[in-house]
Amino acid sequence: MPKINSPAELEELRKGILSNRDPNKPCITLCSGTACHASGSKEVAASIEEEIKKQGLSAKVDFRKTGCHGFCEKGPIIVIHPEGICYLQIEPKDVPEIIFQTIKEKKVVDRLLYTNPSTNEKIIHEFEIPFYKHQERLVFGSNGKIDPKSIDDYLALGGYSALAKVLSQMTPEQVLEEVKKSNLRGRGGGGFPAGRKWGECRNAPGEIRYVIVNADEGDPGAYMDRSLLEGNPHSVLEGLTIGAYAIGSHEGYIYVRQEYPLAVENVGIAIQQAKEHGFLGDNIFGSGFDFTVKVHRGAGAFVSGESSALMTAIEGRVGEPRPKYIHTAVKGVRDRPSCLNNVETWATVPLIINKGADWFAQLGTEGSKGTKIFSLVGKVNNTGLVEVPMGITLRDIIYKLGGGIPGGKKFKAVQTGGPSGGCIPEEQLDMKVDFDELAKAGSMMGSGGMIVMDEDTCMVDLARYFLDFLSDESCGKCVPCREGIRQMLKILTNISKGKGKEGDIELLEELSQVTRDASLCALGRTAANPVLSTIRYFRDEYEAHIKEKRCPAYVCKALISYYIDPEKCQACMICLRQCPAQAIAGGKSQIHVIDQEKCTKCGTCFEACPPRFGAVKKISGEPVPPPIPEEARMIARKSKENE
């Protein structure tokens, strides 16, 4: 591959790629992101390849394994272009029919389409499915169109044209101004204005500067950065190189979790391709600007996502945060100015350059511009990745895109911002989502995780879960974080075990305050958010646990009992047979009774009891009624002939 030496040569290359591609030729795209991979897309891919050959269509149809499409709930996903016909939850056995019907006969396979659950209507095209319809997929959209291992696919969509524009038409100062004007805020957590950080790094004293991609995403339930790096690695590289030019850096790092094997692989391939094309290396586009990128694989520590800890890890030491009274933009890796942004932030940069800061700044809210990718998970019908403009309401995300709560359950809260974020209750669902509004509600944007919870979630247990996570993931260096989390976790565990005391809530609040005020890094300073936000919105649940020894959501095992209502029990033996602890006494025509001593509260009987009987009940905060006397346990059944 000869190097591309000018924007004109890039345009020529792009035209060359396009001239070999017929826009009307059918192209099957198959989501091959990690989620779809887990649900079997590799096998589907094999059968597509085989079936295309078998049906003699090799010259008539293209096949592309793309990055994550986002609708992970319904994977593996196939979209057939140019029409955009979308088939969901595909198995290898569906493939021959798809190829024959849709590619050969130009017919739609109805049974594989999306069915709108409220109207039962089948939806043919991807863009009409509500999950996609309400999104604005500016950064994430190309994921479904390109093979991440093919630079040609990225170039065909205009890839590297922003870099070409920057290097041929703009000074570094102009690039910086453009990013400042766009008001782009870092998508990694704190929402620090990217342009300000870049400027600070550019103006910091020193010869050598670094630019860094933070791909150490580690929040439970969040995977947007992973999917972007897996699915469109060149967009991240292009953004990073533009940033490096603006800042005056010639060396970059991509810090990516080793546990993201596909991201590591794809970004490695992308760097190699970019080097071969001359988009990385010396004298990029003949501009005289040099830039190289190294991949640093992280050894899986949540705290290494904190910028100063990440930089310490790049230096080859244990990933522990350092004080940031002097910003890392001034003193970072090896005490040199280092500008770190996360994957999504860098990937947004080419867009701002191509379409302009004014275009970007008209999207979103006053304080938060552009779009944001959220990872919508938990008790919601359509789990997946969604990209929406800032300012959309939580209600729209959860109900319009997410399709509401499954199983007819009631919404309870949504946890945003990962383990350091907070819970937002029903009454705040109409809040417009942006950096500032989430912070006001006691939560945060974080990297964009959104965990939806229904009425079966206990908020004390939830706070306990996140504190347990953080007690493992804190580096353990400073007292307020390590010891504050340890004590808060103890108190929460006690409360959930029915050992809560009067004054525990106040003690939690006091510890939260100290942890927040005195901790060294952002992990500690935000660690109390799950505690404080659940106390703020669900104090009554804490009180029920402490005062009445009752878990209103029937989750905390120590506070609940299972009980079989003798009036409703049909003595069907189902629960009795399934009980793993053999704690249920009874027999045919003999009402079943749970031995509370033996019961391990696993809930098997509750799940097993046929809904039409509904005899097994959860009880909390009140004594279990005494078992009915043995002699009263026989059920007089009508014999079938008499019915």
Binding site: G476, K477, V479, R482
Partner: protein, 204 residues
């Protein structure tokens, strides 16, 4: 080095650029309590006992005095309701590990910290890291280090290094504010001693 003027507890203090609040205060004879700080070692910022309140750019904040660099016109309060309360809780958290540690008693009294507020934890160490850092930075031996992270973090001697280096050194012992270090050393020693009764050839 340019001179910087800041205000500590209402007093005007002169300091040099690059100094920390702690250094500036010490040079002016104003005391700020410390536990993990040591003149010969790089500032560490783990115990947070040196937390002070600052006013800078119109905002009030709590910062670690041992790390925060002085700025022109910075206003520092080494005692305030918030500072005292924070130090009290921090001490109580550490006392849960080392209720009788000599190094904590005076501070506990001064800030009214209750050593029984939290249940006794199963370790005497407050992880100030003086021993680890002294061995690494001053002695350059790394005979003792941190292992694990979060609430499982602990200090241990590296037996292979300790057995060679520690016999005639032990300079870290007097640095330890609790009884934890010597105990850890004795434990390492006990575990390292080869059993005299069984020679390798008898193990068949």
């Amino acid at each position: 080095m340019s001179e910087i003027t800041l205000q500590i507890d209402g007093r005007e203090v002169k300091a040099e650029e690059g100094m920390t609040i702690l250094e500036a205060a010490q040079s002016a004879g104003i005391s700020i309590p410390t536990l993990c700080h040591h003149e010969k070692l790089e500032p560490y910022g783990a115990c947070r006992i040196c937390t002070v309140e600052i006013e800078a750019r119109g905002r009030t904040n709590l910062v670690a005095a041992c790390l925060y660099p002085v700025e022109q016109n910075l206003v520092v309060r080494t005692r305030s309701e918030k500072v005292d309360k924070t130090r009290k809780v921090l001490l109580e958290l550490m006392l849960a590990h080392a209720p009788d540690a000599a190094g904590l008693q005076d501070l506990a009294q001064e800030y009214g910290a209750d050593k029984a507020r939290f249940e006794k934890e199963s370790s005497f160490c407050i992880l100030c890291g003086l021993c680890v850092r002294y061995c690494a930075e001053v002695k350059k031996k790394n005979a003792i280090g941190f292992v694990d992270r979060g609430t499982r973090r602990e200090v241990i001697f590296i037996p292979e290094i300790a057995s060679k280096e520690c016999w005639d050194c032990k300079e870290c012992f007097p640095l330890c504010p609790t009884e934890a270090l010597q105990a850890t050393f004795l434990l390492t020693k006990a575990l390292m001693s080869p059993s005299p009764t069984r020679a390798p050839e008898s193990e068949e």
